[in-house]
Symmetry: C2
Subunit: 212 residues, 2 copies
Amino acid sequence: MEKNTTDKRIHILDAAEQLFAEKGFDGTSVRDIAGQANVNLAMISYYFGSKEKLLVSLIEHRSGYTRGILEELSKDESLSPFDKIDRLVDLYVDKILNNSRFHCIVTTHLPTMQSEEIKDMMTSIKIGNLEQIKKIILDGQKKKVFRKVDIELTVASVMGTITQVTSSKALYHKIFNIEKNIDELYNKKMIPKLKSHLKQMLKAHLDIKNQE
Amino acid sequence: MEKNTTDKRIHILDAAEQLFAEKGFDGTSVRDIAGQANVNLAMISYYFGSKEKLLVSLIEHRSGYTRGILEELSKDESLSPFDKIDRLVDLYVDKILNNSRFHCIVTTHLPTMQSEEIKDMMTSIKIGNLEQIKKIILDGQKKKVFRKVDIELTVASVMGTITQVTSSKALYHKIFNIEKNIDELYNKKMIPKLKSHLKQMLKAHLDIKNQE
DNA sequence: AATAATAAATTAAACGTTTGTTTAAAACAA
DNA sequence: TTGTTTTAAACAAACGTTTAATTTATTATT
């Protein structure tokens, strides 16, 4: 049985993540969270201070490790530019689809939040990651492997595609005839589809042989 | 001076649209809306019945006309498959960026809503539109102009890219050095960029000459 | 055209809930 | 005994909605 402080904190964070993703930050009451986590209402203020600070804690709890992986990838000289793109696709598809609830909160509910602090935090993380990806594409162009493209919008297409598939699950459940409400099954079917689509599209889009 | 019933209804709808997009459905109170629209609080219940029915009215107010245009486009025999794709890109980029507030509500706040009725309504609209686009791509494939691609995910990439650019305005303001908070300027700069990026990418992605 | 009768629009105030947060006492651990 | 964790109860504020009274607009009658 989990009885120590850390476990209870994580219990609350998990409950909050699920409910924020399903019903939004404003659509979720602290009583909902307490009920879902099976803790007393007052424990949330006790541990996190407030509902908003709980969200900040959740972001800190889930964020962070992507940056390091990206830097490593962009520096790696043993990989060809196209290999790097493939790795990039694998990385983001896996990361986002396996953390779809958190990603849903970040993409759909954070922009609406009042707190400028939280929004600025996320913006700078995104810009940092974009810079790393930019390096990869610029390197491919310098090596005459990639053609001239709008780098920022190319990255927007990758992120946008994944986000689209993640945040419109109900739609793609119907389209691809996947049994409803089984996340694991959805991921098992969609992750390979999504990876191969993005790789195929980026291959054609970036290949210097397709220069107009 | 506008004094009749219809104008006041539209006033309220506009105010609601703005606030729902900025702060979300649950983050917006009917008092906020009344204040923004400069009407008495009770007028919202009087005209629309409830806050949720106000949202339904907003959706009905803004939805609809896309379907017809898409059907026409897919039937048009005077256009080549690639011309149709270009028209499609123009249509969606213009439509979404010029109605970004409403689009923001649809993509980020509707999926969170409790009301299954509203969600089903939007899902069936999306599936209907997807079917029309599917026809266009299938036709291009039959004519040996397009190669084999995942059609659903290709459409997801188009929608996802546009949504990404629309719903992360703050980010792209910084990235492209656009003066803050001027929607008109943002659209003027982004619409052509977005259109040419999508056309270029889809050209490479769909072209049968790029078959692996 | 003026008046009376009816309907529609608008208002301020109040309704009962639910909200996030705090309190002060109790239970538990060190 | 000390300090930490947990609890039920209470708090004021904000929420969506309704009420009942009043003003404005429309229609019918003289």
